[in-house]
């Protein structure tokens, strides 16, 4: 028997309605998204603007109310909980934000920042809170004297370590990391990814790792989900996705990433056109308006996620032709 996944998302949908008395379209941020994250594994949500990756992350913690679908965390349906139950369940989860400059209060010492959540959760006495905060600082490899200092005294990479320490202090089981390295310089990005990977393995954390950059998620993720306009295009174990991408969008996304390898440019495949607005997504396959392989039938129906390999699924009606190498 397989173990029950720690996080199980089924049919998740979020439509943002225009504010009361204002006209405007409904924004279809996510449509019918389903996936699972086994305990202790890392799943990457990757996509460009409007792909819905952040909305999924927020819906999992119910920081936004989903329009439809269920989110099971360790068997508990997050969408059905009362405010009190939700608070309790949320203590098992933490969110790490992109911008380490905006997410830390300038008026609190790092110690106060790390202990705030513990206090809210009723961790007593104070000595226990101090000990847990200091342990979290050590876990992210910051010096102990950081405890009494303020956020502005730290560099971007160090602040992101503080953000991670704040999450760890609460001893969560699930972490949603939303673009945690996007604001950092490239030499620091790898430091933070190494740290997150190390902590995740050591503490057995389950993690959703959100990023716009396929190159960044490869090392840390066990499974990668590629999103476009609120829908899953492809889902595969990381090693499979990079070695054998199937969906035309995944292929285009990989090809668009510039790499410092002279001469690689020549094989570049540049997608034409803009990403459509999630307020007015195309009919059928949402990627068809930019897809180099699109045919008339693509406008007809939303393609389902079909199995194309071991734990590898792709939402394209031309999967068989792509697999046979008949088209690329």
């Amino acid at each position: 028997m397989t173990e029950q996944p720690f996080l199980s998302v089924t049919g998740l949908t979020k439509h943002f309605k225009p504010a009361a008395f204002s006209r405007g379209p409904v924004v279809r941020a996510i449509e019918d998204v389903s996936f699972e994250v086994p305990r202790g594994k890392v799943v990457g949500l990757v996509g460009e603007s409007g792909s819905g990756k952040t909305t999924i992350g927020r819906s999992v913690l119910r920081l936004v109310e989903p329009t439809a679908g269920t989110v099971l965390v360790d068997g508990v349906d997050m969408t059905k909980l009362s405010a009190r139950e939700l608070r309790q369940q949320r203590s098992r989860m933490q969110y790490i934000f992109q911008d380490p400059f905006a997410s830390l209060s300038p008026r609190m010492t790092i110690g106060q920042i790390l202990m705030e959540g513990l206090e809210i959760q009723g961790v007593e006495p104070r000595e226990t809170r101090v000990a847990r905060a200091k342990a979290a600082l050590a876990a992210v490899e910051l010096p102990a004297d950081a405890f009494d200092r303020y956020a502005h005294e730290f560099s971007g990479g160090q602040r992101q370590r503080i953000g991670i320490a704040r999450a760890l202090a609460l001893e969560p089981e699930l972490i949603v990391a939303d673009e945690p390295v996007s604001a950092l310089d490239v030499s620091i990005q790898a430091q933070i990814i190494n740290l997150l990977r190390d902590l995740q393995l050591r503490l057995g954390l389950t993690m959703l790792f959100i990023s716009h950059d396929l190159a960044v998620v490869e090392y840390i993720c066990d499974t990668v989900i590629v999103l476009y306009l609120g829908r899953i295009m492809e889902i595969a174990p990381a090693e499979t996705l990079y070695a054998n991408p199937r969906h035309p969008y995944t292929r285009a996304l990989l090809s668009a990433i510039p790499e410092p390898i002279p001469g690689r440019t020549s094989q570049r495949q540049v997608l034409v056109g803009d990403i459509p607005s999630p307020a007015n997504p195309p009919s059928g396959c949402v990627f068809r308006t930019r897809c180099p392989l699109a045919i008339e039938a693509c406008a007809g129906a939303v393609p389902g996620l079909e199995t194309v390999g071991t734990e590898h699924r792709s939402a394209c009606i031309r999967n068989a032709e792509i697999a046979a190498g008949a088209i690329s």
């Binding site: 603007s49 310089d185 790898a190 960044v216 090392y219 990381a238 668009a256 510039p258 790499e259 390898i261």
Partner: protein, 336 residues
């Protein structure tokens, strides 16, 4: 024999007045660009790459930033060479937008929300080239077509907010090209864009650059983008160029430990899987960038450098010839 450069920067030192003292954001900077050539300035936060481009454009923040010494010799379309470092106000304005086109990271900072896209592109054509309103408006539509905007006549009548991010950046490129500049300065022009749109804009910039034989100074933090767009690259760290040379040469054989470390830090598609399997961490550069107000003695990179020796702390290394058109500011470049 190298052609006479269109832009030739010598010994540039740009300082910022902070807390009552001058802090050098750029030091000892030498850089030249030949006509039709694309040179990338690459570096991380605080490296001085953007301050260098602002110095060239004369757009340093007033009262705070100034060029303390050095020359920025620029040859305009008329063939006259001026030292931009010595020019101010009105005379610089005549060069900007006419001889030098500019594209920035965030298109909405260059576009005025209350004018149509067409009006904004037509304005420099009227001011600098003296065309009539009607002619300038026609030129604007033609420019929008040149930068790949579909239905350009209709787009010219729209306001910036009606365009997508990628379209807006195309419009700012059209505006920068309006007076057929000899030099285009592009400061992180694709950083705010999605990666599939970035690919489009890079392709566009390379195309217009080749068509017009324009020189380009391209400022970016992204080494991958450098490989796509530039002929030569200058790698900056803590206000100084630490290595420069032809892009292929520098990327294949870096002659400075910082360039080497930075190249290794960029995640390569498909390579992380092997590292993960082996349980090996991703390559990194230890530590973080020093504060410009408090740079270490000698080589600024020495505290983070795996090759550092005692001699590195004695004096700032000179930028020395490392062969194959490369220059390196490292006393141990031969051992790399």
């Amino acid at each position: 024999m190298m052609p006479e450069p269109i832009l030739d920067i010598q010994d540039l030192r740009t300082v910022f007045r902070i807390g009552g003292r001058d802090i050098a954001a750029v030091s000892d900077l030498e850089l030249s660009i030949a006509p039709g050539e694309t040179v990338a300035l690459v570096g991380e936060s605080g490296s001085g790459k953007s301050v260098t481009s602002l110095s060239v454009m004369g757009l340093l923040p007033k009262k705070v930033g100034r060029i303390a010494s050095g020359t920025i010799r620029f040859r305009g379309k008329s063939g006259v060479t001026n030292d931009l470092a010595q020019m101010d106000g009105e005379s610089l304005r005549r060069i900007r937008g006419n001889d030098i086109g500019m594209v920035f990271q965030e298109p909405m900072t260059s576009l005025n929300p209350v004018y149509t896209v067409g009006e904004q592109i037509a304005e420099p054509i009227r001011i600098h080239l003296g065309r009539s309103h009607k002619q300038a408006a026609e030129d604007a539509v033609k420019l929008l077509a040149d930068v790949g905007i579909p239905d350009p006549a209709r787009r010219a009548r729209q306001y910036p907010h009606e365009l997508s991010g990628g379209m807006r950046q195309r419009a700012t490129i059209a505006m920068a090209l309006a007076c057929d500049p000899a030099l285009l300065i592009a400061d992180e022009p694709t950083t705010a864009l999605d990666v599939t749109i970035q690919a489009q804009i890079l392709e566009l910039l390379a195309k217009v650059q080749a068509e017009r034989g324009m020189a380009m100074l391209f400022v970016t933090h992204n080494l991958g983008v450098v490989a796509e767009i530039a002929d030569r690259v200058a790698v900056m760290y803590a206000g100084r160029i630490v290595e420069t040379g032809p892009v292929d040469q520098v990327f294949a054989h870096p002659r400075h430990p910082y360039t080497k470390g930075l190249l290794r830090s960029v995640p390569r598609l498909g390579e992380a899987t092997a590292l993960k399997r082996a349980g090996t961490p991703l390559p990194t550069i230890a530590g973080s960038v020093p504060s410009l107000a408090n740079l270490p003695q000698g080589c600024s990179f020495a505290p983070r450098c795996p090759y550092a020796i005692d001699a590195c702390a004695v004096a700032v290394p000179a930028l020395v010839d490392a062969g194959e058109g490369q220059l390196s500011r490292c006393i141990r470049w031969q051992e790399l």
